[in-house]
Assembly symmetry: C2
Homo-oligomer: 342 residues x 2
DNA sequence: ATTAGCACTCTATGCTTTAGAGTGCTAAAG
DNA sequence: CTTTAGCACTCTAAAGCATAGAGTGCTAAT
């Protein structure tokens, strides 16, 4: 496969841009008219034929214009990323206005973030706190709850507060619960949930050695408590329904299924949260069949190099990438600022 | 408007049932064939013409069969409700299997409930804890959180556990927080959030008289803490997309908007949670423009005559009501059983 | 290497026709 | 007086057909 010369690159980008603006297959005529390369349609036709051959464009049918392939979008996006500076201060302030008041309520913060993203982008906004294996325990408190239950309140370093209820077989008084909490805090505070779970398994295996019944019970509680899925927030389905790309019911169904099942998207976002900066995954690059018609623009909020949140946009492969990139990047930066303030 | 004689009733119900099974306008021929009244199509035609005149049926166009109006469905549903016994023990056990393990996690419980409802009904499943004005405070705990914040953990009589973070201007130690919590519990425990808010407003109005600074601060915290919207859970959008009733994109958009904005549905469910038993609201009866193409089948879980949860189905007006009623009723009864165990 | 010219291809659109389902009315039968 | 058979009429949805227009690929000229 040959590399593209300057001219071919420009024409490819022109085709992609035109198609992003108006979802009609673009013909040589249009390119030569709207993008002044000083080339005739005939020449452009030749180059476009090459681009088809190389897999950057396809023809819906013989006598139609060209449409970008995933590879075509990929090329376009890479050249975008190389060039642009995508922090948008105006949007930064806007999102600030919307979110500032919610800084103390992480759920609302995430949910309003997705709403903001989706109204500004007209695509799906997504946001997620890290999955529990990455999360670090800050503190745990235990309460007697109803007759035979314990309520555990868990504070994490990422600013999450979670509660879990655990049924117990025999009664326990609040004093003992306090002791148990103290033990758990001394033992596990500062560790990720993953580490805690492993430690617990180890402890349980040498169960017989543990003499203190309270500790044993505490550890039992841990097993049920220190695991939860990432909280995924998604907004904007009604936005994307307006897009011509979703005139097809089948696509809508795929998308709404993915949103409802959540775990596909959670897995995806979790995988991406290891990396820095804006990441873009286009169509089939997602490597998940149910998502191969969509693109993803994602950025991760980090603190001390550990992920504390992921935000992104899901849209059609025919997405306004430059706008999406700018929105996601700006939002992630704002969220990072908010989340890191302790 | 005359009342319907026996024959007309039967024919009306036959038309509704046929249309629910297959969404084609039903003609006199079909009725006479499939439902053996011993009447010729011509006679049935006459009666159907009357039913149109009375507003129970309409004709999409002159030479088409008949389709039920909202009033037609209403009549059908009322005759259903009069007859049937809708608790389904088989489904009761099935939903038990699915939900039993989640009894300690109310959020998961509600969310899994909606999922179960939607997979069995193929309509939208909805569930909601009561709105905060109806909820009764059981206990509140306060913690110092990060440098300048307080975390409040709120336990309600309904079994909800909520946490709120409140920023404060000057530092406060845990001992004082404990005192504040004790005060709040003694003062407000057993009261609904509505009552608490009113009390707080009263207290604040005579602010100057309150000498204890701690109490003043505690009351301030209340103001921010004792309000939250009902937690609405919805599942099954991807289910309803399969229905022929939703071939129209516009309808899907309306529905997904209602789901995303939530407050419309929350308001609706809240209004209904005062009543007992299965309630059915059909199309325009909902009195909300965005919902006038849908129907709602709802039942409320109660304990000591106070609502502790609402579950329901949202579907097209052309819904399989008898199935929906049975599912909702059974689910509500199971949920009531689980939620009431303390 | 580029471009103008031209024949060719394919789709989308609009129009016309047709089949069929269902009705309403009338007149006969029970 | 109610019910029913018969029949002309209406309306839709589907199928077939013709046409316009956009876009292509190829060839020959620049």
């Amino acid at each position: 496969m040959q590399t593209l010369d300057e001219r071919a690159k420009k024409i490819l980008c022109a085709v992609v841009q035109s198609y992003i603006e108006v979802p009609d297959p673009v013909g040589s005529r249009t390119v030569s008219k709207v993008y002044p390369f000083g080339l005739s349609p005939a020449t452009i036709r030749n180059i476009m034929a090459d681009l088809v051959e190389m897999g950057f464009l396809i023809q819906p049918h013989t006598s139609a214009g060209r449409v970008p392939t995933d590879r075509g979008y990929r090329f376009y996006v890479d050249s975008l990323l190389a060039e642009m500076n995508y922090l948008n201060m105006e949007f930064f302030r806007e999102i600030g206005n919307r979110l500032e008041a919610l800084r103390d309520n992480i759920d609302m913060l995430f949910s309003e973030t997705t709403r903001t993203i989706s109204t500004f982008s007209h695509y799906l906004g997504v946001a997620m706190a890290p999955k529990s294996n990455r999360i670090t325990l800050n503190r745990i408190e235990l309460f007697k709850y109803r007759t035979d239950k314990i309520a555990a309140i868990i504070f994490t370093d990422e600013g999450l507060i979670k509660n879990r209820v655990v049924s117990i077989d025999s009664e326990i008084n609040q004093k003992d619960l306090n002791k148990m909490a103290a033990y758990l805090n001394s033992e596990f505070s500062g560790h990720t949930f993953d580490e805690i779970r492993q430690k617990v398994i180890k402890e349980m295996s040498k169960e017989k050695i543990i003499c203190d019944r309270l500790i044993l019970r505490a550890i039992r509680i841990c097993r049920e408590t220190f695991s939860f899925y990432g909280d995924l927030f998604v907004s904007g389905l009604s936005e994307v329904l307006d897009l011509p790309d979703f005139a097809d019911l089948k696509k809508i169904k795929e998308l709404s299924k993915a949103i409802e099942e959540k775990h596909t998207i959670i897995k995806l976002l979790d995988r991406l949260s290891d990396f820095d900066g804006v990441q873009i995954i286009i169509g089939s690059e997602i490597l998940m069949d149910e998502m191969k018609k969509f693109s993803l623009v994602v950025s991760t909020c980090k603190e001390d190099n550990r992920p504390i949140g992921v935000v992104g946009i899901i849209g059609p492969t025919r997405m306004n990438y430059s706008k999406a990139i700018s929105i996601v990047d700006t939002t992630a930066k704002f969220l990072t600022k908010i989340l890191a303030e302790k």
